[in-house]
Amino acid sequence: MAEMVANRITDIGPPKYDEMWPEIIKNNYGKWLHHEILEPGVLVHVAESGDKLYTVRCGATRLMTTHMVEDYCKIADEFCGGYFRFTTRNNVEFMVTSTEKLEGLKKALAAAGNMPIGGTGHSVTNIVHTQGWVHCHTPAIDASGPVKSVMDALFDYFTSMKLPAQVRIALACCLNMCGAVHCSDIAILGVHRKPPVIEHSHLDKMCEIPTTIASCPTAAIKPSKVDDFKSVAVNADRCMYCGNCYTMCPAMPLADADGDGIAIMVGGKVSNSKCMPKFSKLAIPYIPNEPPRWESTVKAITTILEAYVSGAKRYERIGEWIERIGWERFFDVTGFEFTKRHIDDYRFAATTWRTSTQFKW
């Protein structure tokens, strides 16, 4: 076939995971004995052979230029034999094999100014986040902006380990929830508050109407003829502004500067330690979008964190703390208003209502 497929290389997959291992990892793979957190952001792993691997974890912005990556490479070349890695929360880790190199590495990172050491143990580590206004077409909020604002405010928690347990914060700019907002200790979620605008004149040309109808979780969309155009109608009383129809149909935009904002959720976790994994639950239904610093959002998160620090027992994640003290107490200690919006009303809602006389005044 034509040029397009000539010499085309396909299905080669990623490079094998061990190709970029430092020597010490290659030698001790599967033979680690124990590890220790030496200080915030610094780990040591000890192998059966006696080999010691020191890891320094640095905060990163996730969205970064090639220049930033080059800066990482330079540090890695100087101290780590050219090796470094990214974590599942988009921090950067540099690894060395001796304490002398460790000290040099730490100094170099501090000198860099944009490679803060931290994120280990009972800290607030990096915020898992999404595209926001940088790249996606369905966001209700930005991602990089709020993340920068929140991490600025919580920076002290990144570089220390003084929380009862680790606190995972995640952000998603729409309820597609790309990432981890549904399972994080604190979650920042972009929400809309107005139904989609329907562009009747070209909806049928750009959209598959049946797909659009089927995309609605509350069956608010039905086919409709408007001014001789084949289109759809949205029953605003049934619409809860999820924006799923816009994902399927470009002729139904719903982003709105005044309507859009942030919902805060709390109490999710993915680990199995002590209790089962949990979904995060609604704490604040709406905070307005406040670019560029999102002050109210930052304040709400700080409030949650401070209440948690003063109320939780050691090793208790936010969700475990709230379940121990009860949700009514959570609203008490944070001062957040409890509204009808907090009460689940979707399909299996009844399973989340209280069917007991146990509660605290």
Partner: protein, 105 residues
């Protein structure tokens, strides 16, 4: 709206080259996409897929799922890719004048 002109005819397309209005499709548009996709010749097999997609879209208002398309046309996904190097969505649906695929593609 961007337009493309091919064999003296002008078509309204979006930035990815999908027809803005399925009604404006004609065979020449398929030949335009063929050039764009670097397909050397439109064979009967190509036309079988194009016609099937159009027929299904007309009847159901949606593009068929890949499994339905392969089952009815008898071409395995691998063969569809041999015919349309960009695949059933960006290749075949575009050539057939169907609406651009949406969702988290």
């Amino acid at each position: 709206m961007p337009t493309v002109t091919f064999k003296g005819k002008t078509y309204e397309v979006d930035e990815d080259g999908f027809l803005q209005d399925p009604e404006s499709w004609d065979e020449d548009f398929a030949y335009y996409v063929k050039e764009e996709e670097g397909i050397s010749e439109l064979t009967d097999e190509h036309w079988k897929v194009i016609r099937y997609l159009q027929e299904y879209y007309k009847k159901n208002g949606i593009a068929p799922m890949v499994r339905i398309m392969t089952k009815v046309t008898g071409y395995k996904l691998k063969q569809i890719y041999e015919l349309f190097p960009s695949g059933p969505g960006k290749g075949a649906c575009k050539m057939a004048g169907l609406a651009k695929p949406t969702g988290c593609v």
